[in-house]
Amino acid sequence: MKYRIAMAAILALTMQAASAQDKPAAAVPAGQKDATTLEFEKFRTQMEQEGNPAELFELQGEEFWKAKRGPKNVALTASCDLGLGVGVVKGAYVQMPRYFADAGKVMDAERRIVWCMVEKQGYKFDDLARRPFAGDNYTPEQTSLVTYVAAQSANMKFAVPLKDPHVREVYEIGKEVVAYRAGPYDFSCNTCHGADGKRIRMQNLPNLGTPQGALSAVLGWPGYRMTGSVMLTHQWRMSDCFRQQRFPQPKYASDTITALLTYMTANANGHMYKGLGIKR
């Protein structure tokens, strides 16, 4: 295990240089994959055989889920309802975002977990939101928790409860958000993700409005990301795409992020969630 993580760190360092969007990649004949992509795929295959480093975070998350923690010294497993009953994690991830009457809101998995940490365990939201995503040698606790919860839905079908009018409304709002152009470059999500078969540099861009595109947009999240060797959630992906879109920063665990996740995940309804991912 130690060896694997070290490998991941080394590879991530080399990848960092090559995958930055504004750096030219090595020249290769047209139609072939560039060197970075090949290197990455090789490494991903190897990790899939030996075990995804994301599993370490899953284990960590399981401990967090089951232990009594926080100012109120309460365990999430004894207090947090992810939609299927207090403490039930199996199948919960693929059925979120969903409406939670106790919060009066539609919430995605990460937002719901944070809500539980605040309401049940007594953590302060502002503390959790200060550094919400993993960075150098740092993984937020809620990221490990999301990883644990998501892993308990592996090989189950996405089933966002779209029949619930609360969820449907948020879905429709999410559809507006992906089409909304603003900012200095006039970009919306759809500028990059609104048609089939498009690429930015060598990165394939899923068409979020189609079932297949939405599926590749939601599969593999949360995922262990080579670039930087970090465990990242779907919320992080949304935030980083807003960055590329030249938008201001979305607030952590906000309605806008839930709306995007509702739109994409529901578009993938009926398809299988394959579990924790390994991302480039």
Partner: protein, 204 residues
């Protein structure tokens, strides 16, 4: 009145028309007020970027397909705002143009504020044959000058397209690099060089 406020006034007037014609506004209105609350300034990416300008508003409300009469009037207005170089020379240094086309730096909350920024061109376009890591959001520009002819007229078109892509296609996916002050006159000339100069690898 300067160009920008003239444009936004006209856009505002037209917007009322378009909004009336496409009144599916409920979810959109909710999305807008939600987003106004949910974004904060980070680095140079200020919270007010979430507001749409006149042109964005038209494109947002028509699914990027404004009625042709409106599109043509607004395109002409965008074109009127294109500032061509005073010295009349449009063909810059293609080697420098290649570097500008490669760079995607600029305007995100992790970029240092200020100029110069990159053109992002390879993110969306195939350009010189040596660079095989190119995007496909826009059409291939390989052999552009060769295919379209390196005429004064065509140079002017390319300069204007880069300056303000919306002058020719109101809801284009391509940013308005000169209009927003992202690329300087010299940078745009160099990009024209990259696409048009017979010596540029694009046209070899």
């Amino acid at each position: 009145m300067n160009n920008i406020s003239r444009i936004s006034l006209l856009a505002a007037a037209l917007l009322t028309l378009v909004a009336a014609a496409h009144a599916d506004g409920d979810y959109r209105a909710q999305a807008l007020s939600m987003m106004k609350q949910d974004f904060v300034t980070k680095g140079q990416a200020s919270a007010d970027r979430i507001s749409e300008d006149g042109l964005q508003a038209i494109c947002n409300r028509t699914g990027n397909k404004p009625p042709p009469e409106i599109a043509h009037r607004l395109e002409a207005d965008q074109l009127a705002g294109v500032k061509l170089p005073a010295d009349g020379k449009l063909l810059g240094d293609w080697k420098s143009g290649e570097q500008i086309a490669q760079s995607g730096r600029g305007f995100t909350w992790t970029d240092a504020p200020g100029l110069p920024v990159g053109g992002n061109c390879y993110n969306c376009h195939q350009i010189a044959p040596k660079e095989t890591s190119f995007g496909t959001v826009g059409p291939s520009l390989f052999q552009f000058g060769k295919l379209r002819g390196n005429t004064a007229e065509m140079q002017k078109y390319v300069y204007s397209k880069i300056y303000n892509a919306k002058s020719f296609n109101l809801c284009s996916a391509m940013p308005r690099f000169g209009h927003i002050g992202a690329l300087t006159e010299k940078q745009i000339k160099d990009l024209v060089g990259l696409l048009m100069d017979p010596e540029s690898p694009v046209n070899k």
